[in-house]
């Protein structure tokens, strides 16, 4: 006989499910400007607090405050707003295009626009992102042609990836965007390897790895942290915590840890948690981390706290598993609205200008879509020739594949 009571399995559950009224008043939201900004050569152990707080720059009045503020001028901020609005307009159009049967699949990043858009501004030509499927902002905030993105989404005759990849799984070495995999987390470790190569070669390039909070459970995340830590790889490791991994709330991946950022501390990696809906805060933290990587000080882990407002993908319906009003109750607000308010507060922006910019971008996206449709759509074609599906499996096509291509009639 045992002298202890029977055990039971603990399975965490989110606070709210469909039908519940979400109330996030118990989620601690630190004051904007309260977090310190350490020197970039700081030891991880000295800034443990930054892994548990949320670094915020814009306060509820729309003012930028504290040590992480004042890094961007008016024009840069307007550009940031434009980038985010472009991403939003693009997502709306492409989600609709999927509904209209022009493609098989789409993933929007509604509510998360600030993260990729702000981060991309600290990168230089030659740096490489290892993104997940929800960082379209990394491309849409650079000069990567929107038409090419839509061509890829449509798998049409002008698709730079020849119709091989699932929509949104872009690839552009020239634009620092590593080819996206549908298998989660694999890129996180690869970014570390790429950064190690830059160090091996004595180059000055840095890498960024991206991962969702749910995928931090995969092996690659943990392998990435230990390699980055051991070899002080020039890499910025980003966790985008948007609260939901399809239907699974973040507590399933986080377990007993207070935050995802704190995972880095055990590896001795400086780890920061930032308000992912605050364009200024994301930019400031990204700049700080990129600076560390460039100076050879090693990796930084950043947890971007945000909320996935939309469905996981066009194949998903969140009303089956989460409370309807969760996204509107989420305490960090809308990144676009917040930056807009800040610009108005600075006296350099107005509702009228905002409206005009939104319309201009919607027209820009519509025009790009029109151009792309001249090259075809997934279901109506045209596509690249079917014979090309045999190309590039290897550099040179082996005999067995040549025979298979012949058999296929090409």
């Amino acid at each position: 006989m045992s002298d202890t009571p029977p055990l039971s399995l603990y399975v965490p559950e989110p606070e709210f499910r469909p039908g519940d009224k979400p109330d996030f008043s118990n989620v601690p939201i630190p004051q904007a400007g309260a977090a310190m900004m350490p020197p970039v050569d700081v030891d991880a152990g000295e800034i443990r607090d930054l892994a548990y707080t949320i670094i915020r720059v814009m306060n509820r009045e729309g003012e930028a405050v504290g040590p992480w503020a004042d890094m961007l001028d008016d024009d840069q901020l307007k550009e940031g707003l434009e980038d985010m609005l472009r991403v939003r307009a693009f997502d709306v159009r492409m989600t609709m295009a999927q509904r209209q049967g022009k493609t098989s699949f789409y993933m929007q990043c509604l509510g998360e626009e600030a993260i990729a858009c702000a981060f991309s501004k600290v990168l230089k030509p030659g740096d490489m992102n290892f993104p997940t499927y929800r960082q379209q902002g990394l491309l849409l905030s650079t000069d990567y042609p929107m038409v090419d993105m839509i061509n890829q989404i449509y798998s049409n005759a002008a698709d730079p990836l020849m119709g091989r990849q699932l929509p949104i799984m872009y690839s552009s070495k020239e634009h620092g965007f590593f080819t996206i995999s549908g298998n989660l987390a694999t890129q996180f470790m690869q970014g570390v390897g790429w950064a190690m190569a830059s160090a091996i070669k004595g180059d000055t390039k840095i890498a960024t790895s991206w991962i969702g909070e749910g995928s931090t459970a995969e092996n690659d995340f943990h392998a990435g942290l230990v390699f980055a830590s051991t070899y002080r790889a020039p890499v910025v490791l980003n966790i985008v915590n948007n609260q939901w991994a399809i239907s699974t709330f973040q507590g399933i991946a986080r377990g007993g840890a207070a935050t995802f950022a704190s995972r880095g501390l055990g590896f001795g990696i400086p780890s920061l948690r930032v308000d992912g809906n605050d364009y200024l805060a994301v930019y400031a933290v990204a700049k700080w981390a990129a600076e560390r990587a460039r100076r050879g000080l090693g990796p930084t882990l950043i947890e971007h706290v945000t909320y996935r407002i939309g469905a996981h993908s066009t194949s998903d319906d969140p009303s089956a598993y989460r409370a309807k009003e969760e996204s509107t109750s989420w305490p960090l607000g809308d990144p676009v609205e917040r930056l807009k308010e800040h610009l108005i507060k600075r006296g350099v922006w107005s509702d009228a200008q905002h409206h005009q910019m939104k319309e201009m971008l919607e027209a820009q996206v519509a025009e790009a879509q029109k151009q792309a449709e001249k090259n075809g759509t997934l279901h109506d074609g045209p596509h690249s020739s079917a014979a090309t599906m045999f190309d590039d499996v290897y550099k040179e096509m082996p005999l067995h594949l040549r025979r298979q291509r012949q058999e296929a009639g090409f």
């Binding site: 559950e13 798998s155 399933i252 998903d316 596509h383 690249s384 499996v393 298979q404």
Partner: protein, 338 residues
């Protein structure tokens, strides 16, 4: 008896198993509250509680490894990998662990677990939602590999798999979840309610592992096939008028070698069909078995119809998929041979 889709039949099998045996537990990514992205576990958490049906972190290593540990303890996990394409991080736990624990411990520990996973293409899933990795399991000694082709078999085979004392990889052709697929993607989808094998007993029953089923009796050529391609082969036989004997293997390992040999001794010809890539695919094993055991009964070379040896493409899915035309051509070709 009820009319069920393959999803409902699979869910019903787990429900039946969980109702009969408290040791059966179900877990995986999104399988708890939501009931899985294909809804195969819908309602199980509500009915049996969170400790018997729950969401896991996104870690296939974790899902399979946890199942190994639980099975070694003595309970019966039936876990879900969201897509077969995602199983590889769990592959070490399958190959080096689950498959060998009985042998290396001389029966001291055993691993009665089932790993379910949606497999195959035909849904525009691209290279990471379309693969058919059955051969990488069938190659491994110590695990069983099962692929049903209809709701009746799905329930019976899944119950047999859960009750089996060895680890079973249970591959569910996702293109068949909602209806038999004749291979003509441009035609309206037929629902399972219109198919006789969509008729599923409500009570417990099993379809034994290692027993093939003859889907169509024929005199001229034996077609060895499983999963989605069973229906495509039926279409091809109908469209070409070739009197094919279509054998649905149902279990790749253990394999019903007797059914294969018996049929080929009768027909003297053999076509092997699978959606997976060709090189070292399961068809290679089948062709070798036929050559070794039925050589003197063969009147023509064995033909394989398979996916091409390349990653599953997106836009060119229907050029890649071995549809009724390609299977039909093989049937005609094998009949023309001397």
């Amino acid at each position: 008896m009820s009319r069920m889709t393959m999803i409902q039949a699979i869910r019903n099998a787990m429900d039946t198993a969980m109702g009969r045996d408290d040791n059966v537990v179900v877990f995986g990514e999104d399988v708890g509250f939501f009931g899985g992205v294909f809804r195969c576990t819908q309602g199980l958490q509500e009915k049996y509680g969170r400790h018997r049906c729950f969401d896991t972190p996104i870690s296939e290593t974790g899902i399979v490894g946890a199942a190994v540990g639980m099975a070694a303890y003595g309970i019966r996990p039936c876990v879900e990998i969201q897509f077969a394409d995602y199983v590889y991080p769990g592959y070490d736990q399958i190959v080096s662990e689950a498959a060998r624990i009985r042998y290396r411990s001389n029966n001291d520990f055993t691993v009665p677990m089932v790993v379910r996973m949606p497999t195959g293409g035909g849904i525009f899933g691209g290279q990471t939602h379309s693969q058919s990795p059955e051969a990488v399991f069938a190659h491994v000694s110590g695990i069983k590999t099962v692929i049903p082709s209809n709701p009746y078999d799905a329930k019976g085979l899944l119950l047999a798999s859960i009750e089996d004392d060895d680890p079973v990889m249970f591959l569910e052709p996702k293109r068949l979840y909602n209806g038999p697929f004749d291979g003509h993607h441009d035609r309206p989808v037929t629902p399972w309610s219109k198919h006789e094998l969509g008729e599923v007993p409500d009570d417990h029953y099993t379809v034994p592992l290692g027993k093939a089923a003859i889907r169509r009796e024929g005199a001229d050529v034996t077609v060895l096939v499983y999963g989605t391609m069973v229906h495509v082969a039926e279409t091809a036989a109908q469209e070409t008028g070739v009197d094919a004997e279509i054998i649905d293997l149902r279990t790749l390992l253990p394999l019903d070698m007797e059914a294969i040999e018996e049929s080929i001794k009768k027909t003297g010809r053999c076509v092997i069909v699978h959606e997976a890539t060709r090189t070292c695919g399961y068809g290679a094993e089948l062709a070798a078995i036929v050559a070794e055991n039925c050589f003197y009964h063969l009147e023509a070379p064995v033909i394989r119809v398979t996916g091409y040896d390349l990653p599953y493409p997106h836009a060119h899915e229907w050029y890649y998929f071995p549809g009724p035309k390609r299977v039909g051509d093989a049937l005609k070709k094998v009949m023309e041979a001397a």
